[in-house]
Structures are given as C-alpha cells and as structure tokens.
C-alpha cells in the first residue's frame, strides 16, 4: 500500500492556486484598502465613493496578481525559499504596477496615480502576507497537525464490534469458511482504524475497506442491507485521507438501515469531475428519528480531518432530501505527484 509521509517538510511558499490562500490574500488586501481610504477621508459619507473609485483599479489588479501567482506558482516553489520570496514579491508588485499603467488612463482619474506608491503598497502587503503564511505553516507544522489528526482517530463502535463478533461466532460451526473470511475482514478494518490516519491513501484502498466493513454488516443484517455501488467513474488512484468513506457508510447503516424492520438501500457514488473527487452516500431516513448526536460527532470528525488535509478545498455537505439522507463530500483530486502536504495546502 502506498502512502505519503510529509514529515520534516520545511516551510515553503503557499500554493497560490488554492482557494484558501486566495481568499486570505484577497481579504487582507481589501482590509488594507479600506483602512487606507478611512485614514485618507476621515469622513463616513466620502468613504463609499472613494472606496469605489479605488476599487475600480484595485480589484482588477488584485485578480490579475492572483492569476499570475497561480500561473507562476509551480516555478516559484521550485526556487529556494528566499529566492522564491523575492520573486513572489517582485511579481506581486509588477502586476499591480502594470495594471495601473494600463487601466489608469482608461478610468480617467483626475490626478494620475503614483506608480511608486502602488508598488510600495503591493510590496509591503506582499511581505506581510508571506510572513503570515510562513507563520501559519509553522503553526500547522506536521508534528502539531499530526497530533490533532491523531486525536481525531476514528473509533470502532462497540455496538458494531460485539454484534460482529457474535455473528462470526454463529458461523464457526455451520460455515467455517465464511467465518474465516469475516475475521479477515475484521482484521483489515481494525488495522485501518488503528493505523495513523494522518496519511493519504489511494481511493481504491478506502473502497476496499468499506467493502470489508459492509460484508460484515451484511452477515448480521442479511437482506435488510442492500447496497448500490456506483463506482464506474471512480478515480481509483486518487489520494484521500483514510477512513473518510467507511465511517460515512457506517453511519448510514447505523442510523438509516438498522432502525428499519425491513431494512433499505445504501447507495455509494464516487466519481471525478474536473479536479474534484465527489463521494455521495445516501441512506433511507428512519421515520422515528433515533438520536442524531452520534451521527454529528462522526461527521464533525470527518469534516475536521478534511479541513486539516485540504483546507478550504474540501467540503462535506449534509443534504436531507425527504425520505433520503445524503452526505456529499467534495475533495480536490490529487494523485501521487501533486499529493498535498499534510494539513495545509499552503506549504507546497
């Protein structure tokens, strides 16, 4: 089984193509612009007007800078850190300057905007932001992130453990082969649960694990548990955090199938769309709502681990649709070469 370990990774430039990074840059720039206008006008009524005028120039400059940084990102990150920082700052100052030269006259500003002050503003903010990203990367150092991930280690529900053991015991005499196979499945499941979950694993491994888990449940629940697999479009090689899909399916069984006397169908749909991997788990909703607290805890756990691995690029959405409960996870499509560093997309 392949794994990617990201220990001892030194601090590097952030990945400027990531949503989280872009958002942080954009918000900082906007805040700085607003602060600047406030200081300049000192008047609430004039603020709106001045801010709009400034934005006409600043927004395109910001957008173009972000685009340029994203495009140059791979090249920038191959440089040594110091050289990378200098190159980034230069790029970050040059693009706004060029935008000013290009757009300034079009906007018909009464007084020409000083090119130098634009560049100084950009350089200053750039340095500030890179400093922030550096600090943030250190704060989310692999050791700390790993500790947080360890605390989020998935657990086996005792209910599941004892019921499964009971089911295996019932098979030992009548069907020893099935009993053997069930114990092998249990071993796989426990290995995965006890393994360090801070590593990314290939999607196909996680699906194999989910299959092992469902075989065990099928043993107990028999025909009450029906499964619809939609895996034709699954990118088997994609890397995802381990134990993201299996606990979702476990939740679906526990809350969706077990409370129904006649059982129901769980559907698992995994596909890739563009640079995103989608995982959709659906289960019937039991009429009499059993406690949803346990459910929340498991989902919060998955959500936090996704965030530690992918920052804002991954989402977990709960979509109750009448008689069907749907959980939808979107993760960035990564494979070996682009495997993201642990915990933050910014340190690549």
């Amino acid at each position: 089984m392949e794994r990617w370990n990201h220990n001892n990774r030194h601090v590097a430039l952030p990945n400027f193509c990531h949503l989280g990074v872009n958002l942080r840059i954009a918000l900082t720039v906007e805040a700085a612009l607003a602060a600047m206008v406030i200081v300049r006008t000192l008047d609430f009524d004039a603020f709106g007007e001045q801010f709009l005028t400034l934005s006409a120039l600043a927004q395109p400059a910001l957008l173009l800078t972000l685009l340029a940084l994203c495009a140059a990102g791979r090249g920038l990150r191959t440089l040594p850190y110091r050289a990378g920082v200098i190159a980034t700052l230069l790029l970050g100052a040059a693009v706004p300057a060029a935008t000013t030269v290009w757009l300034g006259p079009l906007l018909g500003e009464p007084r020409p905007i000083a090119l130098l002050s634009v560049m100084a503003f950009a350089l200053l903010l750039g340095a500030l932001l890179l400093g922030y990203f550096n600090l943030r990367a250190r704060a989310l150092s692999p050791a700390i992130t790993e500790a947080r991930l360890e605390a989020l280690q998935a657990r086996i529900r005792p209910h599941f453990l004892f019921n499964s053991l009971n089911a295996v015991l019932s098979l030992v005499r009548s069907d020893p082969r099935r009993a053997e196979h069930a114990l092998e499945n249990m071993a796989d499941l426990f290995r995965a649960v006890m393994r360090n979950t801070s590593q990314l694993v290939p999607l196909e491994d996680e699906v194999a694990l989910t299959r092992a888990y469902l075989e065990l449940e099928q043993l107990r629940l028999g025909e009450r548990l029906r499964i619809a697999w939609h895996l034709d479009q699954m990118p088997s090689e994609a890397l995802i955090p381990s134990l993201v899909i299996q606990p979702l399916v476990e939740n679906a069984v526990y809350h969706g199938i077990e409370p129904l006397p006649d059982g129901g169908e769980i559907s698992l749909d995994i596909h890739r769309s563009g640079d995103k991997v989608h995982v959709v788990v659906r289960n019937p909703v039991a009429a009499q709502g059993s406690s949803h607290k346990g459910n929340r805890i498991a989902l919060d756990n998955i959500r936090e681990r996704l965030q530690l691995h992918f920052d804002l690029d991954a989402q977990l959405k709960l979509e109750p649709q009448g008689a069907v409960y749907q959980v939808h996870i979107v993760m960035p499509y990564t494979h070996e070469r682009t495997a993201p560093a642990l915990a933050s997309a910014h340190r690549r």
Partner: protein
C-alpha cells in the same frame, strides 16, 4: 435425584438471524444442565408479543435494540398479561441499559453470550416487576410506539398516532382514539414525560394530540373559559386557565 423438571419453554427474540442461531447453539450445548424447549424465534417485538400469546411460553430471551418495537417496550406490553413470562434481556453493548439493569437487579446477557452465563441467567429467570421496568425505561428514554391494555387475557396494542387524548380519571387513564376508548393503568405525568413531543397538556387531567387540535374556542358565558375540539371528535374538552396561555404559545410555534 430430583424429579426431572419439564423443559423450560423459551422464545428467542433478536432482529439478527446469526444472533438467534448463536443462542440456539449455546442452548444446545448446555442442554444437559438446562433442559429447554425452544418454542419459537421472533425478529422484533411485535412478532414476539404475537407468539407469546399463541402458545405457552415460560421465558423470553429479549434483545434490547431492535427496529420497530424494541425490547424494553415489548417487555412492558408482555407484563400486561395476567401470567407474563420471565424475561432475560440481551444486548451487544449498551452502557446505560446495563447500568440500569444492575441497579434494579434485573438479569441480562451481553452478546456474545457464554454458556455458563446463559445457564445461570435462565435458572433464576423470573418476571420483571413493574417498578423495575419503569426504572429501566426511564434509563432508556425512547417513547413507545404503542400503549397496551389487557382485554380478556389478550394484549391489545393502541398505536400512539391513533390516540386523540389521554384523560386521568380516578385510578385509570382513559385513552381515546377515533373509534373507541380504553382504560389503562399508568400515570399521566409519566406519559407526559414520555410523549411530550406528541401530546400537550390542556388541563390538570388531560393531554391531547398536538397535531389533532382542530379548534380552540371561548366557552359562552364564562370570561376566561376555553374549550378545544379535536379532529374526528365532537366532544368539547375543557382547557384550564393555567394551561391556556402555554397552549396558545405551543400552537403558534407549530
């Protein structure tokens, strides 16, 4: 040697087929120490109630967590019989329930079940007393799906969604459905605690089904007197002054 006991007539109740098979295996293994006759198996509480009433059953091995009617509710209904069977609960894992069992000295089995433990539990199996059962249900707060009464020796189940109102009258509580009335022996306070989501109190002695309220009106000739009418029922129920304002709040929030 003692005279041989007639074998214990036993019903196995568990929603998982492998769990039932496992219990059969273990009972078979200790047949010399504990002669039993397994008279049937049931996959849920309703089925169990049905089987207990169709044949004589001395003891029921009853799983707690089952879809539909769970073990604790089933036990409560079984206790309505004039000659209820002994009940031994079983559970795979349920920390709260086990604690409650220990506190009330109710014997239970944890799955996977060991032969020794099973023999011990069966040999001292006995009926649940009503107080212990109430305590158990309090520790496992899940509203029942049915209320039950014993009518001519048979358990009659009243589905909770069919109930229009519950009214305390001296020793009993009148349970009113669209078609008829039943008398049950329970406490209105406990019922209110258990079904607080479904029923609202309109009077010291009366709970009504929240979703069945059709109209609330003023009693003629009485300044603050109010009455209430339910779907499918012509009867006017008195709303007490104390409950009126609280009731209006609740209705508004629906």
């Amino acid at each position: 040697m003692n005279a041989p006991h007639p074998p214990l007539r036993l019903l196995i109740v568990d929603d998982e087929a492998p769990a039932r098979r496992r219990l059969r295996d273990v009972l078979m293994d200790c047949a010399d120490r504990l002669p039993v006759e397994i008279v049937g198996e049931a996959g849920n509480g309703l089925d169990a109630l049905d089987q207990v009433q169709r044949q004589p059953v001395d003891a029921v091995l009853l799983d707690i967590r089952m879809p539909g009617m769970d073990g604790l509710e089933c036990a409560a209904h079984l206790n309505q019989l004039s000659n209820p069977p002994a009940i031994i609960f079983s559970t795979a894992y349920d920390a709260y329930a086990c604690q409650a069992f220990d506190l009330n000295a109710v014997d239970y089995l944890v799955k996977p079940v060991r032969a020794d433990r099973l023999v011990r539990a069966m040999s001292r199996a006995r009926r649940l007393n009503a107080a212990a059962l109430d305590d158990l249900r309090a520790a496992h707060p899940k509203a029942r799906m049915h209320l039950s009464v014993n009518e001519k020796g048979r358990i009659v189940l009243i589905p909770v969604p069919d109930i229009l109102y519950l009214r305390a009258e001296l020793k009993y509580i009148t349970v009113r459905t669209a078609t008829r009335e039943f008398l049950i022996e329970e406490s209105l306070t406990r019922l209110e605690a258990e079904f607080g989501e479904t029923f609202v109190r309109i009077h010291r002695n009366c709970l009504v089904a929240r979703e069945r309220i059709r109209e609330i009106g003023k009693l003629p000739g009485d300044e603050d007197g109010h009455f209430l009418r339910l779907d499918g029922l012509d009867e006017r129920l008195t709303v007490s002054r104390r409950q009126y304002s609280a009731l209006r709040e609740k209705i508004r929030s629906i």
